[in-house]
Symmetry: C2
Subunit: 301 residues, 2 copies
């Protein structure tokens, strides 16, 4: 199971074609064909159905392992690369849309004063993408948000050797369209809203399966799925009555056309966590320290 073979295997299934996978990877079609054949011989199973090119049962199983493996491989390489390139005045931050609150903004401002010529780049991405950027070293630091019980850590997927620390905790709010019967309420209970229509916006709002998990309840059915990192697009959908969504309070209150009603019962908070490699860039380390100073939180390896 050479990583090269896995990489072409993934590419073949992603493009549903040997030849385009070949051109993407810079191989000849013949090489790709041999790669797949070698993998299949090694594992003793057919992995790819040809014409049309799709995964067999075994191929599907392998597809659940291969991307993660390749990511961790890149993460290891990035980790070592970081030991040598030390550019103290550059910082790349990747974050989910709702993760960038006052706590982080303030820490960044202080970093700007402390480490003077600071070249800062910020990227807004989905949850998995943020983690991927941090692991592969394309970002020095990540900010991910989610919902948990107060001062509980977020249930993040496997991160390898990284450090996670709480950056902020805020109230959670449900987004109602302005005219909604519940829009003028002082608070709502999430458990009362399981049967409502929701917007499935896993990259911007709290994902629906997370809501199901924290409520230990089914429901939270979605009629519409909103991909991408556009908070105002989400607000517009909510304002138009396409469904509800959960966001952190100060941010939700500032969105146009919607009413943000605080969430009680389950006691939940919007938590944003800062993640960086176990072996961070100098600037990342400094920012993490500033955030930790502001709001000391538990640390995880």
């Amino acid at each position: 199971m050479d990583p090269h073979l896995l990489r072409t295997f993934v590419a073949v299934l992603e493009h549903r074609s040997f030849s385009t996978a070949a051109s993407v990877l810079g191989y000849t079609q013949s090489a790709v064909s041999q790669h797949i054949a070698a993998l299949e011989a090694d594992l003793g199973t057919r992995l790819v159905e040809r014409r049309p090119v799709t995964a067999t049962a075994a191929g599907t199983r392998l597809m659940e392992h291969a991307p993660g493996l390749l990511l961790r491989l890149d993460a290891a390489r990035a980790d070592l690369a970081r030991l040598h390139d030390t550019r103290p005045s550059r910082l790349t931050v990747a974050h989910t849309p709702a993760a960038f609150g006052p706590a982080v903004a303030q820490a960044l401002e202080r970093l700007h004063h402390a480490a003077h010529p600071l070249e800062l780049e910020v990227r807004v991405l989905g949850r998995e993408a943020v983690i991927e950027e941090v692991l592969t070293g394309r970002a020095d630091l990540g900010l991910v948000d989610g919902a948990t019980a107060p001062s509980d850590p977020l249930p993040l997927p496997d991160l390898g050797p990284t450090t996670t620390l709480a950056a902020a905790e805020q109230e959670l709010a449900v987004l109602f369209p302005d005219g909604h019967p519940l829009a003028r309420r002082g608070s709502v209970r999430l458990t009362d809203l399981t049967q409502a229509h929701w917007i499935d916006a896993p990259d911007t709002a709290i994902p629906l399966d997370r809501l199901r998990a924290v409520c230990r309840a089914d429901g939270f059915r979605a009629r519409i799925r909103h991909r991408g990192t556009d908070l105002h697009g989400l607000a517009a959908l909510a304002a138009a009555g396409h469904g509800l969504a959960v966001l952190p309070m100060p941010l939700a209150a500032a969105l146009p056309g919607v009413a943000a009603v605080p969430l009680t019962q389950p006691r939940l908070v919007h938590r944003t966590e800062l993640i960086h490699p176990a072996n961070p860039t100098e600037a990342a380390r400094q920012l993490a320290e500033l955030v930790a100073d502001r709001r000391p939180g538990p640390q995880r390896g």
Copy 2:
């Protein structure tokens, strides 16, 4: 970063020697030398210091990635292998010492009746080892125990494509030596015991860092470390006054020479979870189903 190279890299650092790593892996010493050289050339850094053979800073970083990578690689291979070998009448269960409670025993008994000629093998191991056995297919099914808030999942490390389900929840108890002043109490608070002496027995009792985490407190200092899966050895240490330990109630009460006092405050339970690959053996699937029937619990991917 060929897996072969990583494997020899790990072996070299584990044995602190190129030549013994070579003989263990079935290579010549020369090959091992070239493997390390190739890795170092690929990553552009020296990874191991020779004479004596130790990890450099970069090598230490790589050592945090490599074993996990190799494990996941084996897990992927095992996952595919499972698709072909279907021996419905064999079941290998790996579990931590305190994970095997009445719930599981009862399910196993029912399985014995349902799937008649059933060849059962049970292995008692530490937490990581149980997970490793399940991932690599050496066990069909794993049972891991730990402490959490009621009906919260255990914080298990990365598991890849596996399914986890709650098998049982029991009361937690602290083990006191029979003559201890607190031994006759009806209950104790864990937060009152942070300054006591504890036994660090990560493979049998609840690990001390877990106690620190659930209490959000420091302390729980250990004077003695107890490795291995011997519950009675742990009880003997506790009876001799070497320190305290946390175990599930019915089990703790049955141990000789110690008093088991129920734990309140933090509200915690002893929870055992059943884990099996996303693609389980037939017998494993059946047992999981029996356990799930008995005590329906939340499922995680």
